[in-house]
């Protein structure tokens, strides 16, 4: 039978802690690169004053932003769930600082939960920027 004390770190690998930050970074990078590629050619002015290239962030890039954002939010919600489960293992409350495998397990979960919450807010903020502005200007 699996007891709490058997939960060694390998059951809850430590890389899960920075994983939410990686999701946030990837979301930001994907939005940034998409906007840069889409808006990049909008340099210069045609004779007569109209801008060359794309000036509005609409259509394809918006669809891509939607996909990036939904995928990132799903990943972060999954990380929040994993973190929450590890954090609430057994019957203990923070700060989970006992020198035991079980408390390490809870601590890693708790840290993941908090960082994933922060990353979720950050992803929503980046998404607000692209969805509310929708222009290359």
């Amino acid at each position: 039978m699996m007891t709490l004390e058997h939960l060694a770190e390998e059951r809850q690998p430590v890389w899960i802690v920075p994983a939410p930050l990686v999701v946030w970074a990837l979301h930001f990078l994907a939005c940034y690169v998409t906007a840069a590629l889409w808006c990049g050619p909008a340099v210069g002015t045609a004779p007569g004053g109209a801008a060359l290239g794309n000036t509005a962030l609409a259509g394809l890039p918006l669809a891509l932003f939607t996909i990036y954002t939904l995928a990132s939010m799903l990943a972060l919600l999954a990380l929040i769930r994993m973190g929450y489960r590890a954090h609430t293992l057994g019957d203990a409350s923070p700060p989970h600082d006992a020198d035991s495998p079980a408390d390490r397990h809870r601590f890693i979960g708790y840290a993941t939960l908090l960082i994933a919450g922060l990353s979720l807010v950050a992803v929503i903020y980046s998404a607000m920027a692209v969805f509310m502005v929708q222009t290359c200007q």
Binding site: G44, G49, G117, I124, M128, A129, M132, Q137
Partner: protein, 332 residues
Amino acid sequence: MRVQGGAASVAACVLIGGAAGCAGVQSALDPGGDEAATVARLFWTMTAGALVIWAGVVALGWYYGRPHEEAPSPRRDRWLILGSGVVFPVTVLTALLAYGLWMLPPLVSRAPEGSLTVEVVGEQWWWRVRYLDATGAPLVELANEIRLPVGEPVQFRLSSDNVIHSFWIPSLGGKMDMIPGRTTYLTLHPTRVGTFAGACAEYCGTAHGYMRFMVDVMDPAAFDGWLAGQRQVAVEPQTPETQRGRDVLRRAGCGACHTVRGTSADGLIGPDLTHVGSRMSLGAAGLSTDAATLERWVSAPERLKPGVHMPAFQMMGSDDIRALAAYLERLE
């Protein structure tokens, strides 16, 4: 109504921050245009919100700093930390972000078709200003001065062919970068007649601090008259001295860099001088355009504007310089 609101916010500014920087030709808190009014409103909203939050934090600190009789309640403390440490800041920041983002698209959207279009090119260290016709062809070129009809939208087209500059008229709206190789756009709606000051808001080299300009928002009829005047070629000099000045200008080679429309001077490197005598300021630096300043400018521009990209003409005889200055002053 608008004026009252403006007066009220200036009064509030004076109360909070002391008199400096609240009113005046270059104050974002004394708006003369729709875009600046939006920015000022955001500023006041944030200031009021910050004061409320500050008072709340001080009150909490005071409350918890007192000795307490009752037993501690970890449950209540946990909620207080979660509420004021996480939920409250996230809510406030989300609201502020949404408010700020919501302001942006109108600021960068284009003015309606057929609006007055002004092209401004960032030079080192002055502003080339071109009024364009409906097809985008230049009607007239001047420098360091922009006049606008009140109550009408104006479309700015901004560019640079050297380094990044930033075009900013605080009393009329937000700033917009001028980026080499790109055209950026800024739309403004001046709402009140008056003279405002603008500045370059992106460090661009030695004389960046002198890279300023004047904006005059005028009655539409007065504006039309002014624009028609700017389109005229330079007046013919009438007095012997100004005639001599014109000849000096031709001989000294000023025409390699400057244009005086109606004469053989057709250089494009420096500002158009056709109506330099009627400019509100000289050299983008807030200098006056009287003959004495013009004399000093021509003989040693570097003294008036360190870093300037115009050669000094000290070797010119003082009579020539005086004649030249008299001629330039008459170019109205």
